[in-house]
Symmetry: D2
Subunit: 171 residues, 4 copies
């Protein structure tokens, strides 16, 4: 069974989304596709578009779990699911994934990372991607929590780790 | 954008699932794939397995929206999403589809058909497939309702109609 | 622990909602309150308003599970919960109740009745209240299904039965 | 219409839940009840139990939105709703509230705070209550975000502010 990897991160409009951060996302998408994983994401802009673009460059499969209307999906999404769940769709993304990679991100991404750790899904944050992924890579933050995300420093490390983490049983 | 077609019907265990009914489902899957549609279903057994089997025979893409654990997906599902939503996942299937085809079915299928019509998604029932799809093809039942499903008598009619119905706007 | 009873039925606009049918709903609300139950419903108009009105007449507690905005709640709802779940909120109503009473109803109500029976919640239909509650009281319909709703002919029978059905374990 | 105030915080088992933190929660519950608000929470132990206990001391109304089985509700919950939504129920709590007060908390609470801010619900954190409510009161954390929670230092400030914030329109 193919690995399903969710990538969570900022929608378009986040001022942290500079060229460097978007390239991290695109590279993550490429690597997921090269290793034969299925990419799942929120289907909109920003990180979601960059990661899907990367995956399609390498012939991967991209699934977008949209809040409402599937016509809002970015053009790199193969399978746009218009759930009509609004922000509740964040949980569908998290629950449907074997592992979650966080890139940049604001409050919406933080809700995904948080619920993922709360339900014991492995979470990998790329510390160099700004936003909450940078914030939650800091030791002084993580000491507030018993369960912690994995912290990596590059797309390569992130995807390699994602494929190494043993698939969790319950999902 | 590819048409997303949900097929809803009985899980394994329904005594109506004879060879003839399962062949209807398999044929629907074949036709969806041949016409380039994406099949979405509940990912389990019975009708869900037969329709996915048909779609894979013809090289189609199959998405399974599972109630809990994706390991329960039948072997013809390309993209198994383990939503952890339980029966709420029925609504995700309905909302994510452009059109819903009903084959056979019991209470669970009826919940999908009902909510689909309530939210103005087009529903097509194959009257020859037993269960609630047969029941809700009867004139004396349909007169109880203002909005009605489309009634067809074969897989060919069902899939042809599914691709002809104009994509609805809101999803 | 107080019994939580969901009443599901047509929203305002259903032409079946004549004086007689609304009186059935109002009477059901009165009886639930008199017996100390908590009424849960969809919080909008029609049957939902009539049943809540009845419950408040007798000093009961009324909970409305609204699709979006709680400001849409009818004036007899004590606790309006604006879930932002849209029609998915139908499932929250069903899952949160010990027992479901159906009065009149169209496709939306049928989705609630169907999913309730699918998840093994007891369902009681008042056969004299028109709509799908009348339809699904017919023997020739029920023979299509293995699991069946309870059929009663009056508000008194409905509420008496609702309080007699042993609370189910899983919820 | 009565104000609906959600209190989100750690379940039993969090080692931060000392006597002082639980007293903050209980005091918040008392104050919500005294001012005529309806308390909504996750219905389980820890902060959820302490805040409901406080509310009942002062004759308030308490609603518990449970993940699965309503029999798991703490004894101070008047209206236990067993949603069968699992952790998705966190979003129902957030969406159904006019305002959210955070007390202590771990990843689960952080998911609630995050989604609340993402959907523009006002969030008030009590900085003296440890856990993520303390963490997200820090200036060096908040500078990572454009939208910010309100930070207060006592139950009295929290509840006063909760009743002063103008009810938001969309819910």
């Amino acid at each position: 069974m193919k690995k399903i990897i969710a990538v969570c991160g900022s929608n378009a409009g986040d001022k942290n989304l500079n060229k460097e951060v978007l390239e991290i996302a695109e590279r993550v998408g490429e690597l997921i596709a090269e290793k034969g994983g299925i990419l799942i994401c929120g289907g909109l802009g920003g990180i979601m578009e960059a990661v899907a673009k990367g995956a399609k460059k390498k012939g991967g499969i991209t699934v977008g779990i949209l809040p409402y209307d599937k016509s809002k999906a970015n053009k790199y999404i193969d399978i746009p699911l218009g759930t009509n769940l609004g922000f509740y769709r964040n949980y569908v993304i998290v629950n449907s994934a074997d592992v979650i990679i966080g890139i940049c991100g604001r409050w919406g991404t933080l809700s995904e990372i948080s619920i993922a750790i709360a339900v014991a899904k492995p979470v990998i944050l790329i510390s160099t991607s700004k936003g909450i992924s940078e914030l939650f890579s800091k030791e002084e933050i993580l000491e507030y929590f018993e369960e912690k995300p994995y912290i990596v420093n590059s797309p390569e490390e992130a995807v390699e780790l994602a494929f190494k983490i043993k698939e969790i049983n319950q999902n």
